[in-house]
């Protein structure tokens, strides 16, 4: 078993808690206006995945898909239940974000590599390859803010695609860039997917899910509606979408 998600729930407080200053908080407390309520981002989700499984996670916005990926990648702890994973995890969530505009492309590459859990030797060895794959040879010592959005996601993809994980977690990042690079990144992605890693990914493109996943999890407002074989769950999901819009 590679991933064992057992009855997990994530509950937290929302309401006046967020983005309040201390002064404002005290004022609201005194006036008795302070209100919070419990929010269930996930409720009682359970499933297991074996080696080589490809899980597609579907559901409308706010279904708890990203929260689930965060729990599995270890960024968040569930409030109830447990999640056990077996092996090295690589979570590629929102690739393009989180680079530092003031630092050079080279520095950003090393920093991101360090965050991905690569060693220094590995980075020294792979650095030329990363830059070459991202086609950013001429930009290595330029500040990162000089890069276009496309260039930045190319770099992010190149760093991430070096991983050889046992469990791969993706948040809608199957390919990036335009034209030639798109083809290149899709090829690289298929290579990783074919390496036998257990993969979980969130997608809004049902045709994509149907073509690569062997299992599908459907979430709605934090609750697990269905988990099972691709065709079965996709059909159910499609039917519900059709009903809603019709």
């Amino acid at each position: 078993m590679m991933v064992d998600v057992n009855n997990i729930s994530v509950t937290y407080l929302t309401g006046d808690l967020r983005n309040r200053g201390l002064k404002e908080y005290l004022m609201m407390r005194m006036k008795g206006q302070y209100q919070t309520k419990l929010f269930n981002a996930l409720r009682g989700v359970s499933f297991t995945l074996e080696k080589g499984d490809m899980l597609g996670i579907v559901g409308t916005n706010g279904a708890g898909k990203s929260t689930l990926l965060k729990v599995i990648s270890g960024i968040m702890l569930p409030t109830e239940g447990y999640c056990k994973t077996n092996g090295r995890i690589a979570a590629l969530l929102e690739l393009g974000a989180g680079f530092d505009g003031e630092m050079t492309v080279r520095e950003n590459t090393y920093l991101r590599g360090a965050m991905m859990g690569y060693t220094k030797d590995f980075m020294n060895e792979m650095y030329p390859e990363i830059i070459a794959f991202a086609e950013l040879e001429d930009f290595q010592n330029r500040p990162f803010r000089h890069l276009s959005t496309g260039m930045s996601s190319r770099l992010a993809f190149s760093i991430c695609s070096l991983v050889r994980p046992d469990i791969l977690i993706l948040d809608e990042v199957l390919s990036v860039g335009d034209g030639a690079f798109r083809a290149k990144s899709e090829a690289k992605m298929s290579e990783i997917l074919a390496s036998g890693a257990t993969t979980l990914f969130v997608s809004h493109t049902l045709s994509q899910v149907r073509s690569i996943c062997n299992k599908v999890l459907w979430l709605n407002k934090g609750e697990q509606i269905a988990f099972g074989a691709t065709e079965e769950v996709c059909d159910l999901y499609e039917a519900s979408l059709a009903k809603k819009s019709g």
Binding site: Y12, R20, E24, I75, M76, L77, M103
Partner: protein, 255 residues
């Protein structure tokens, strides 16, 4: 375990480099400036207090510099550390890395700055005709414990800062009060013994006192002062560590 340590040591190294570069905007002048700014402060206070308030105590420049140096390290490390989690929220909420690394890296970057100031300080001390002796090695003691205290306070403050964004302003007022209560430019000798004891409640004062006892008086501080410094440091560290352990996964929900 070894793998984990090696992996995070690389990340930590990269984070310290980043914070250091950010601080100085990668210019020599930026680095020089961070050394010049306490020196400029020193110069101004020196002129004011010697000329206008007629401070005549021996080694007043060293006395003043000691206080400024210790306070600046405390202020810089805790203020920078407080912002560490919030400033890196975009990373912490996307990648599974230990969050305390971001706080520690800010402290280390302040410690490097402090060490550079310390070198200049020792030059000033020599110019002030104070003999540099082996007793000076005892200064490692307050430096180590002040760093531990800074880590502890930064862990506490950074956790609170996630919930209360205006903490920055409130904390800057607080540190200003601490500065005035640390006897940086005045001496506590004119106060009554009872009032003088109150100063010991301020940890920054205690660390400054330790430095002054070693450097200006050429003596090793009392056992009592050793215990006070260690006590404050460990209390802050344990509280910070406990808060972090208990709440660090919950930060995510509010980022």
């Amino acid at each position: 375990m070894m793998d984990r340590a090696r992996r995070y040591s690389f990340l930590f190294e990269e984070l310290v480099k980043r914070d250091f570069k950010h601080k100085y905007k990668r210019t020599i002048l930026g680095m020089l400036w961070s050394l010049l700014s306490p020196l400029a402060q020193l110069l101004v206070l020196n002129i004011i207090f010697i000329n206008f308030f007629g401070r005549t105590q021996p080694h007043y420049t060293t006395y003043l510099f000691t206080g400024l140096m210790v306070f600046t390290y405390f202020n810089d490390a805790t203020t920078q550390g407080m912002r560490a989690l919030d400033a890196n929220a975009y990373i912490i909420s996307k990648i599974n890395v230990p969050k305390y690394l971001f706080v520690f890296s800010r402290i280390v970057s302040s410690l490097i700055n402090f060490t550079l100031t310390l070198v200049i300080y020792l030059v000033f001390v020599a110019v002030d005709q104070i003999p540099l002796t082996f007793t000076f090695f005892t200064l490692f003691y307050p430096i180590v414990f002040l760093t531990i205290m800074n880590i502890g306070l930064a862990l506490i403050l950074s956790a609170l800062h996630i919930f209360f964004k205006d903490l920055e302003y409130l904390y800057s007022i607080f540190t200003m009060l601490v500065m005035y209560a640390s006897a940086i430019f005045y001496s506590t000798e004119s106060f009554s013994p009872g009032l003088r004891r109150v100063f010991y409640l301020n940890p920054v004062y205690d660390f400054i006192l330790y430095f002054r006892t070693v450097v200006i008086d050429g003596a090793i501080p009392s056992l009592e002062l050793h215990l006070i410094c260690a006590g404050y440091a460990l209390a802050a560290f344990l509280l910070g560590f406990w808060l972090y352990r208990k709440y660090n996964y919950q930060f995510l929900y509010y980022m």
